[in-house]
């Protein structure tokens, strides 16, 4: 076991010894681990978002702009403008998409470190599926509980002060840009 995991092991394994009932303990311990991985991921991605928000907004705004333009061109029956705007929307969307892939790493990295520890501890564990030759290992249980944690956490996320504060900062940046662009349109329209 890696020295860092040897340090963390007593704390993590404590959650797997709460009730004395093997299956329940495994599920509780894995659920706690999944939650920890989720929270750490949420914190790191929120920090990454704060740093990159301006660029994300730029590429997203470009994709939205050309997408809406292509629809207006479609409604107006202008095929050339539609093709042009559609192509640019495609390019802008691609940029935005790859940025999101890179940023998603900031959310998901703790999952793999959790799985590394579980591999040390539970690599031989299998839960046979009834009436089949298949079984669910520690990875499968972790994925299911991580998904459940994500859905649960979504409901309470913005009740936590840290995430509420981050949301307020991100919303403020978005609103500032929105009002700036609104002001620009007013100036252009001479109103």
């Amino acid at each position: 076991m890696h020295p860092i995991y040897r340090l963390l092991d007593p704390f993590l394994i404590w959650f797997y010894r709460l009730t004395g009932h093997t299956l329940a303990d495994f599920l509780i311990g894995t659920l706690v681990l999944a939650f920890l991985a989720l929270i750490i991921g949420e914190v790191t991605i929120s920090l990454a978002f704060l740093v990159t928000k301006k660029r994300i907004d730029q590429v997203t705004a470009e994709a939205d702009r050309y997408q809406n333009l292509s629809m207006e061109a479609l409604k107006a029956g202008d095929k050339q403008a539609y093709k042009a705007a559609n192509k640019l929307a495609n390019d802008a969307f691609g940029k935005s998409f790859f940025m999101q892939i890179a940023l998603s790493a900031a959310f998901l990295w703790p999952v793999f470190f959790a799985l590394i520890w579980m591999e040390y501890r539970f690599s031989g564990l299998e839960f046979p599926l009834p009436f089949t030759n298949y079984s669910l290992g520690y990875v499968g249980v972790f994925i299911l509980l991580y998904a459940a944690s994500y859905l649960l956490f979504k409901r309470v996320k913005y009740k936590l002060p840290y995430f509420r504060r981050i949301k307020a900062i991100l919303d403020t940046c978005t609103n500032q840009k929105f009002h700036q662009s609104l002001k620009l349109r007013e100036t252009n329209n001479g109103t």
């Binding site: 660029r55 333009l69 292509s70 403008a81 640019l88 495609n90 999101q100 892939i101 900031a106």
Partner: protein
């Protein structure tokens, strides 16, 4: 419409999962241990020294780089993703194959234990594929949020995608030598190099300039004159404008904003199959390729294509996850992937910071040079047995 879409997605996903569980062979969790046990022991080429420190996949004596190198390489990949885009996946593959020495290590077992050679090939493919999985996850979330769906198109894509994502691993897992895999990877790198190169040429840039000019002209003529600020700030209408008017084996038609679009269902089925097959075989590509395929080949509006692709991507992602969870045919090195993800996250933050100082066209030119170098190196290594490029 949304409830109907959810029901169909659920049915397709269930079908895909059942097919995976029924048709795929259950994996032997000790496949890697078995392969290691059958390898001759010793310190020579193609041998395993049981007393050596464990490296890649926990194999004694396998390459193991200092964790910081994984993070640094991941940062390079993340930087590319957030600066230019597509080439990041290729670089992740180059890291696994060449930089960390995994391919050369795997090749040593070609004669002493071909099973281990092929198992290592599959492991390297899976390491490449986690980025495809990320792409699929992002596609599903992002596209589905857009909520604009052309159901028959989504079904065709999903059908082709499932077939490709399922057939390729079943047909190739344990059968592809590392050398062959490197050769095919090199071919894909050449294809990416061509696309990047075209975008940097005068013709490629002229097309983009013309598209911008046409869009700007239309915008000035139609939008700015008629739209009040409040109207202009409203988001565009959602997919209630999509109406399927004709279902057929050779033609499916729908209207959107009064304009009729039609497509031959064979194209999205084939396209879905090919894209999923490439993703499954090579470990690059994935959900993001559906959108340019449908907008370029079928000429469909990105407005609805992006949302429709979610159906195909979501279903194939569920299939892959279930395959990974229950079939478990290939072991995965979590340490390698976890540390790379840390690096990718760092790179994703650096990319936007540096993009204002480096023009995109020069970045693309740099990557074209890299891609040609890597492509030639891998194609020659794969199909000739040796690389003509140093270091590959």
């Amino acid at each position: 419409m949304r409830k109907k879409s959810l029901l169909i997605i659920g049915l397709l996903a269930t079908l895909a999962v059942v097919a995976t569980l029924v048709l795929a062979l259950p994996a032997d969790a000790g496949k890697l241990e078995e392969a290691i046990a059958k390898t001759p022991q010793g310190v020579g080429k193609g041998m395993i020294d049981p007393s050596a420190p464990k490296g890649f996949m926990g194999i004694p004596g396998a390459p193991k780089s200092f964790f910081l190198f994984y993070i640094l390489w991941g940062a390079w990949v993340g930087w590319i993703f957030s600066s230019v885009g597509a080439f990041g996946g290729i670089m992740a593959g180059v890291g696994h194959i060449t930089v960390f020495g995994l391919a050369d290590y795997g090749r040593t077992f070609k004669d002493t234990n071909p099973t281990l050679n092929k198992l290592l090939t599959d492991s390297i493919r899976v390491c490449n594929q986690y980025l495809v999985a990320l792409s699929a996850l992002i596609s599903s979330v992002t596209y589905y949020r857009m909520g604009r769906l052309v159901l028959p198109l989504g079904l065709c894509l999903a059908g082709g995608g499932i077939a490709g994502a399922y057939l390729i691993p079943v047909l190739t897992a344990g059968k592809i030598t590392l050398r062959a895999y490197i050769g095919y990877f090199g071919l894909v790198v050449f294809a990416v190099a061509y696309v990047l190169f075209y975008e940097t040429t005068a013709k490629g840039q002229e097309k983009r300039k013309a598209a911008r000019a046409a869009s700007k002209a239309f915008e000035e003529a139609h939008i700015k004159k008629k739209a009040a600020p409040a109207e202009a700030a409203k988001p565009a209408a959602v997919a209630s404008g999509v109406r399927v008017t004709h279902w057929g084996l050779t033609k499916i038609a729908f209207t959107f904003y009064g304009v009729e679009f039609s497509f031959n269902p064979l194209w999205p089925v084939l396209g879905g199959f090919v894209i999923a097959a490439i993703s499954a075989f090579i470990g690059v590509g994935g959900g993001f390729l559906y959108v340019p395929f449908l907008t370029s080949v079928a000429g469909l509006p990105m407005f609805i294509v992006a949302g429709t692709s979610a159906l195909a991507v979501l279903v194939s992602m569920i299939t892959s996850i279930f395959t990974f969870m229950f079939v478990k045919s290939v072991p995965v090195d979590f340490i390698l992937i976890g540390t790379e993800l840390v690096g990718i996250a760092i790179g994703s933050v650096l990319g936007p910071m540096t993009s204002k100082y480096i023009p995109e066209v020069w970045l693309k030119r740099l990557f074209v040079v890299l891609a040609v170098y890597v492509g030639i190196g891998y194609v020659t290594k794969g199909f000739l047995g040796y690389s003509v490029m140093p270091g590959m």
